[in-house]
């Protein structure tokens, strides 16, 4: 990939996103996901972006230099965008900023054109769900009880569970396919089952945007596929915009509409998988010599050896 082509494509994309942002400024331009199913629309770059990061500088208390510096990041509406990169490239940090878990040192994140800071805590949680890497489940809690916590942003301090909560929880349990686990104590579940139950909890939030931080890491293959299947179903049937950090670039290439490849805290390249995943990317960003092939569901990767450093 030449630098010029990359710049051009970025310019084009940015222009399109800029143009459509005005359109998304209206109060609620997109359907609620518990409402009507969207058509299985082709993932096109003409979609407005739901989440946009601009001129972001992200760091942690105690770090002098920003960990992540990104001029522009888009999660196009109704598409699955995967953040990929080697360890320490800042992909999880970036996701935290999008999820409002980390306040940027500089720059802003916009949800449907509004600055994240303008949202109330619960109002934001009703629109954006986050599955973090850290989750701790009190052992004696049943899976169903855990899923009910997904309704937290909908309930006032003294509100009891109502019919809308029950319906949302049932839908979420059904979507995540954890009906058979609902009475099991979460502490007794396998890692993969736990992950599905946690995803069900976030689905009970009925978010329009779903952010997942390495949802498949440490899971067995079966559950990796289960998790990605749930994410795809949500995206295709409910039109949920997905931003997902994936460790495995091959998995990302298979499941995502867009890839954002990060290297040392900045965007190396972004776009559809078959454009982003190249021998050069694997060599320069991931430090491996690999052959990229073309499969039915996006590029396939055959890694050969690490590059000597």
């Amino acid at each position: 990939m030449t630098g010029l082509a990359l710049t051009l494509r970025r310019l084009l994309r940015n222009g399109a996103a800029e143009a459509t942002r005005a359109a998304t400024d209206r109060p609620d331009g997109l359907p609620r996901w518990d409402g009507v199913d969207r058509e299985g629309d082709a993932a096109g770059s003409d979609e407005p972006s739901r989440l946009i990061g601009e001129d972001l500088e992200l760091g942690y208390p105690g770090t002098e230099e920003p960990v992540v510096e990104v001029d522009r990041l888009d999660l196009p509406a109704g598409e699955v965008t995967a953040l990929v990169g080697p360890n320490g490239s800042g992909k999880s940090t970036l996701l935290k900023a999008l999820a409002r878990q980390l306040e940027p040192d500089a720059g802003d994140v916009y949800l449907d054109g509004s600055d994240l800071e303008t949202f109330g805590n619960k109002a934001f949680a009703r629109r954006v769900g986050l599955l973090s890497q850290e989750h701790e489940s009190p052992g004696s809690l049943s899976a169903e009880e855990l899923v009910y916590y997904g309704r937290y942003p909908y309930r006032g301090f003294f509100d009891a569970v109502d019919d809308a909560d029950r319906a949302a929880v049932e839908r979420a349990i059904d979507l995540a396919g954890v009906d058979h686990l609902r009475d099991e104590p979460v502490g007794d579940l396998s890692g993969g089952q736990k992950q599905l139950v946690w995803i069900a909890m976030i689905l009970a939030q009925e978010p329009e945007v779903l952010l997942l931080d390495e949802p498949t890491t440490y899971l067995d293959l079966h559950h990796q596929l289960r998790v990605m299947e749930v994410v795809e179903t949500l995206n295709e049937e409910r039109g949920v915009t997905v931003g997902v950090v994936l460790h495995d670039i091959a998995q990302a290439a298979r499941h995502a509409d867009n890839l954002v490849a990060l290297e040392d805290g900045s965007v190396y390249d972004w776009g559809p998988p078959d454009e982003v995943v190249t021998d050069d990317l694997l060599e320069e960003v991931f430090g491996v010599v690999a052959t990229v092939g073309y499969g039915e569901n996006g590029p396939t990767i055959m890694p050969h050896r690490p590059i000597e450093e």
Binding site: N121, F124, R126, S132, H135, E145, R166
Partner: protein, 388 residues
């Protein structure tokens, strides 16, 4: 699938307001009430002032008290407030109670009531702190409260001895100030359970050193004894005034605690998850800690620093009813009083029974003697102890 939802929703209708009230909690509540009643029976019947059980119980049922609302109300509200509320003129004296009645009603009974309130406060406070610090070994005193209160107690007794009458207030204040200092030390663009606990250790170390130094300046043995009683926790001399002092704060703190049980549950899912669910984690954590401090300070004001109750009661309850905080806190409301009131039976009557001595022990010594072995048992029995 969408069409089935209403039916499914109705099928899970058991999740109504009282679904949390299950058989294990009912059993726990009932047996705790039984323990409290049994302890009340013993406490009212026996003591250094000799009277037979029949005399004690007829004193408890004395018509002078039960049929004179002025007497009952002045116990609960204090004599002055009673006169205002019931429009009793100052010249209209209250009846003189018989000696037996006086002892049962003014000495033995209020002590049990204060014990029950203190037990409930400490247990709930401990349950909250264990959730806030995500540490099973946390107690109401983990964020510097006991050391701050202890230092305030010593300062009041030794340095500002003119203010001894205000000891309950200064002790509670000392605890609260120490808690605020702990929070200030732990704060660095936010807090975390570990930072809070470490800050608690820092403040406790300094306060305890100062407290020990102050012992050396105590002029007579009675001051030291008084300081020991306050810093180990004692119900000796608890009266209706103490009931009136601790009751309103107890009601406020415990109501807030029960109401915040869902916040506690969500907080336990991890800070990040709680934040992603829309909880303002720092604010909720501070608010919950404040509720727990209120409960702890209220109990310190009347009983001093009673150890172990706030540590072991939430454990016992969690083992029986599970980790849901609504069940846990309601369970603590019952088991806390049961433990403290029954331990106080030993504190008050133990020396008399064993050594025929009229001395009483601070109840904190008894709770420690019960708490230590219980932890030993837990340590032997369970693989993981610590992280919640």
């Amino acid at each position: 699938m969408a069409g089935e939802q209403p039916a499914d929703g109705a099928a899970v209708g058991y999740r109504d307001r009282f679904a949390w009230l299950d058989s294990s909690l009912l059993w726990l509540g009932t047996s705790s009430v039984a323990v409290v009643v049994l302890s009340l029976f013993v406490q009212v019947s026996f003591g250094t002032y000799t009277m037979s059980i029949t005399e004690a119980w007829s004193a408890l049922l004395d018509a002078d008290v039960w049929y004179d609302e002025r007497v009952l109300v002045s116990f609960l509200l204090g004599e002055e407030l009673m006169r205002t509320v019931l429009f009793v003129p100052d010249g209209d004296a209250l009846p003189d109670l018989a000696t037996n009645t006086n002892i049962v009603w003014n000495v033995r009974l209020p002590r049990v009531i204060v014990g029950a309130l203190v037990g409930a406060n400490l247990a709930v406070s401990g349950a909250i702190f264990q959730a806030v610090t995500r540490n099973e070994l946390a107690s109401p005193y983990i964020l510097g409260v006991s050391s701050g209160a202890g230092l305030a107690i010593l300062l009041t007794l030794v340095v500002f001895s003119g203010m001894t009458a205000l000891l309950p207030v200064t002790a509670a204040l000392g605890g609260t100030v120490a808690f605020l200092v702990v929070y200030a030390i732990a704060w660095k663009g936010g807090t975390s359970p570990v930072r809070l606990v470490l800050a608690g250790i820092i403040v406790a170390t300094i306060c305890t050193s100062l407290q020990t130094a102050l012992y050396l300046f105590a002029e007579d043995i009675s001051t030291v004894q008084s300081a020991v009683a306050w810093t180990t926790g004692s119900l000796t001399g608890a009266d209706w005034g103490d009931v009136r002092l601790v009751f309103p704060w107890t009601v406020i703190a415990l109501t807030l605690a029960v109401a915040s049980s869902r916040q506690l549950n969500v907080l336990l899912l991890g800070e990040r998850t709680a934040g992603a669910l829309g909880m303002p984690v720092e604010r909720v954590r501070f608010a919950l800690s404040s509720v727990a401090i209120l409960a702890a300070a209220a109990s310190i004001a009347v009983a001093g620093i009673v150890g172990f109750v706030g540590l072991i009661v939430p454990h016992v309850v969690r083992t029986i009813v599970g980790s849901d905080h609504k069940r846990l806190i309601v369970g603590c409301l019952f088991v806390g009083p049961a433990l403290l009131v029954s331990a106080d039976v030993g504190a008050r009557l133990g020396m008399q029974v064993l050594f025929d001595s009229p001395n009483q022990l601070p109840v904190g010594i008894l709770t420690g003697l019960i708490g230590g072995p219980y932890f030993l048992y837990l340590m032997r029995k369970r693989q993981h102890l610590g992280d919640l």
